[in-house]
Symmetry: C2
Subunit: 191 residues, 2 copies
């Protein structure tokens, strides 16, 4: 199965008050941790608001600049999907989830089986990210608009598969306070 | 017919000795003249060596950064083609041809008819650019490698259509001397 990761890094980080993707977690910028978790996967990084700041960290990546980034996440998903339209599935990856690992990504991908329109990771039954979307849903994914993510098209579908994972599939950085929590988790795990 | 323009702006400009795309012709950077000639066409700009310098001029464009730009033009064409793989044809546009106009581009596109695998503009019978490539040739275009352009796959084909245009389809800027010639043409036309 050919899988392409659409790495969403175009946002303004308004609730964070700036570019959260270069904040350091475990001595490494958040975005580079996420890219490491995608090691071995075809991918394209979608940038927008902070293209100039991010570029120096991404010189080995295929990058798409989304001029419509202010119109929300769906515009970035749509551009990434154009790039992977001949693939079997895409993985929609939020770059503000620095605790995601290569093992988690592989676990999500491995959970795919015939008949799944998507694979969603859960923790204690709560749905998280990143989400794998099979090509049967590409047309619906293309029709999304505004600041909504891929999970929007999965509501009420009975063919969505889930896979239980650790808490990392629920932990994202929206605010500076979230970053502090993530740093505490990383420090505790180190000790 | 859905046509997407792949705007090639990733090169290092070695023979020019730097970034030729921001050189001014008729008070306007070369790359912006070319984008103006593509007004009304779907397009994606492929950048590479000079991404940081070019970005401020391209904030309203969909841009793909090609991390393989040192491996030549074919790597940029391939990335652009991924984006337009569901289109009927692509226009391969060299950004160092600042005398191309919207009229010329429309003339090339209008010359397409059933049975053309491509449309190549000519001046006095000499083949120039930009070239329109129909989707029947997308697989071959994807297989190009190294620093070769789309015309490589057209050699010896009997289904390549041509359309006679002005000298602008032959005039590109490879060296500083070429730029001087272009400036002389523009100044003469103004007088």
């Amino acid at each position: 199965m050919k899988i392409g990761a659409i790495v969403l890094a175009a946002g303004e980080g308004r609730r964070f008050g700036g570019n959260k993707l270069l904040a350091k977690v475990g001595d490494e910028p958040v975005i580079l941790r996420v890219l490491k978790a995608l090691s071995g996967f075809d991918r394209v990084v979608i940038v927008g608001a902070y293209v100039n700041e991010l570029m120096p960290y991404l010189s080995n990546e295929v990058i798409i600049y989304n001029p419509y980034y202010r119109d929300g996440m769906s515009t970035s998903i749509r551009l990434g999907l154009r790039f992977f339209q001949d693939y079997d599935a895409v993985l929609i990856v939020l770059t503000d989830m620095p605790l995601i690992t290569n093992e988690v990504v592989s676990r999500i991908v491995s959970a795919y089986h015939d008949g799944c329109s998507a694979v969603v990771p859960t923790h204690n039954g709560i749905r998280g990210n990143p989400v794998l979307i099979h090509r049967v849903l590409f047309p619906e994914l293309t029709r999304l608009s505004g600041d909504v993510g891929a999970r929007e098209i999965l509501r009420g579908r009975v063919d969505v598969c889930t896979v239980e994972c650790g808490p990392e599939v629920l932990i994202d950085i929206d605010t500076v306070n979230d970053l502090t929590k993530v740093l505490n988790i990383v420090n505790t795990n180190r000790q």
